[in-house]
């Protein structure tokens, strides 16, 4: 198997060139909410007749999130399971409808588009899933898995499918002669490439990757991550990269958004986040990532677990686990606001007279 190797010329060009153009965002999320409601069942409705006073259970999977993505940018979404990062990814990809708020593509509201325009926009935002075996139909040949969408959407004619699919397969480093095979005849890394090829076949501009390398071995993960970066250069792609793996996110993202219980708690350039996190939760996450260079270290742990999203704590969701929490944190939700150059953080510590202890030299530890 061959992978398109990085061309040193384009590499240095990408490095020397200016960063993504923030003035022309390709994607704007404006106060997105996504709620999942479990309505009462029969027994509970009957109980209510007798005055039990039960109410629908609502999970705020995404709770008022705003995010702007520039063209050509890679934005990493990180957080623990249940923080809403995958739900947000799905809202961006148009798989889930937001309960409130708007998604704008090139400044135009996606939900207001109709007909051909809407279909075209939906095609430009594609999603790549974690488990390729669960997202590839085991009874379809690879040529049909990759070629079905472009035929249906009139990008190519049915007679052109062989040539077109071969070309897309070559792009992701798959051997086109294997196109008549079924997904189970491929290895894990190759299946991941099939998933990528299927997304690329409709000429997307934005790829939403949901834990796309989480199931792969490190050496295969490296190949797939390199492929993502090569494709970004070749095809001028924008990525929203959802992952719990901070090492991966640090490597490929331009900016990182850290989520906790449905909210973005910190959003900044990757270097800024990893060199000096502002939010105590970010700091805790970073402290706990096992690293190669930290041999035989004493593992420390943040106390407690992520609370139930059915009944999140009031004020700042993180306050029960935060060693710096004070009264205001328990009452008032901190706004996500600018606390430094291009850095947004939602933490009341930044408003205190002493300032945020994490931003000073010798920042104290947040883990015990």
């Amino acid at each position: 198997m061959t992978t398109p190797s990085a061309n040193p010329a384009t590499k240095s060009a990408a490095k020397a060139g200016s960063g993504p153009d923030m003035s022309r965002p390709i994607l704007e999320l404006d106060h997105i909410h996504k709620r999942f409601t479990r309505s009462l069942d029969m027994a509970e409705k009957v109980a209510n007749l007798f005055g039990a006073g039960l109410q629908d259970q609502v999970v705020r999977a995404v709770d008022d999130v705003s995010l702007t993505v520039a063209r050509g940018e890679v934005v990493g979404l990180v957080g623990e399971s249940g923080c809403g990062k995958s739900t947000l990814g799905r809202v961006i990809a148009g798989i889930l409808e937001a309960s409130e708020g708007t998604v704008k593509y090139h400044g135009k509201e996606v939900s207001k588009m109709t007909g051909a325009e809407r279909r075209a926009t939906d095609l430009t935002i594609q999603m790549i899933f974690q488990d390729p075996m669960a997202s590839l139909n085991p009874r379809m040949r690879v040529v049909d898995i990759i070629g079905e969408a472009p035929v249906v959407h009139g990008i190519i004619r049915r007679s052109e499918i062989d040539g077109y699919v071969s070309e897309v397969m070559r792009k992701v480093g798959l051997d086109p002669t294997t196109r008549m095979r079924y997904p189970h005849q491929f290895s894990g890394g190759q299946r991941a490439r099939i998933g990528i090829a299927r997304a690329l076949a409709v000429n997307p501009k934005i790829l939403v990757c949901d834990e796309s390398t989480a199931a792969l071995d490190v050496s295969i993960q490296a190949q797939v991550l390199n492929l993502f970066m090569d494709l970004r250069r070749e095809l001028d792609l924008t990525y929203v990269f959802v992952s719990h793996d901070l090492g991966v996110v640090e490597h490929i993202s331009d900016r990182v958004a850290v989520m906790y219980l449905g909210r973005i708690v910190e959003l900044a350039k990757t270097e800024a986040i990893f060199e000096g996190p502002n939010h105590p939760y970010t700091r805790a996450l970073l402290d706990e990532v096992p690293r190669l260079d930290a041999t035989k270290k004493q593992f420390t742990a943040l106390k407690g677990e992520i609370p139930s999203p059915l009944a999140p704590p009031p004020g700042c969701h993180f306050h029960p686990r935060c060693p710096f929490a004070f009264d205001r944190c328990r009452q008032e939700r901190p706004a996500l606001k600018e606390v430094g150059q291009g850095r947004l953080s939602a933490c009341h510590l930044n408003d205190t007279a002493e300032g945020n202890p994490l931003m000073k030299a010798n920042a104290p530890s947040v883990t015990s």
């Binding site: 590499k11 623990e80 890394g189 490296a222 390199n226 593992f299 677990e305």
Partner: protein, 330 residues
Amino acid sequence: MSKAVLDVKDLSVSFRTREGLVTAVNSISFSVGAGEVLGLVGESGSGKSVTGLAVLGLIDPPGEIDPRSSIKINERELIGLPEEKLRRVRGKDVAMIFQDPMTTLNPVLRIDTQMIEAIRAHEKISEKAARERARQALEKVGIPSADERLKAYPGQFSGGMRQRVAIATALLNRPTVLVADEPTTALDVTIQAQILSEVQQLCSETGTALVWITHDLSVVAGLADRVAVMYAGRIVEEGPVSAVLEAPIHPYAAGLIGSVPSRNKRGVPLAQIRGMTPSLTNLPPGCPFAPRCDYATDICRSTMPEPTPYEGGRAARCHHPLSAPTPAAA
């Protein structure tokens, strides 16, 4: 290193399949001392999990442990023990934690039933005393209000808590050796850190020898004393963690370490190992890594390199060692 409590010599495990005999583990040897942590690292299909299962005698047909293999716990040979005797060893002298705690836990039984059963299977003590020990075990792994939680069912715990219950159960009889097969892979980093810190503490307290099986080098870096890197059923390199991570001898170990994202500069393509792991049914002659190796020569393609000891308690199987440290005097 203190005296080895787990001593594995020439362990081979093979499976009869329709495609022929697959040797998943091919004559590997390692030993772990009391209180020591050995990280067993490899990619899918390298044989690391089969090794762990073999130590507990949990290889079922069509799998077969080569009768010439030797697995000794505290000098006692386990290979060839009848099933009846093995049952007494398992859970008492050697215990295992799995990736999915539900492999250990029965979903329809309360935690206390399961834990008390595990204690009383090996020891004649009263139910009351067993319950007290189970309670202490839960407290030790950081489960709050252990008394109440004992009465819960596995389904009432979160993923991280469930894994703690599985760890507490494994440690109930103070095993000499604990085999952990990717127990934190499915967990979030914060929960992983909690569990790693608890396991670290427990092992140093009780002197349990720990074999930590994982594909995640960074976890091994923080946790283990020694690391063994497996590839296609063989240990290709072994040594103290810091030495191996700083200057690997085997090109595969080097490739594996190099492909970890945090080892690479941001925005620069990751170092990658070309090709993919070979199928165990169709291994190339000679070194199995040769087709993917940048340093391979004719000898690599024809002859399997023998394990060579190096200074500093290291060993590797390679004809062309990188960063060549001095070979240990024979």
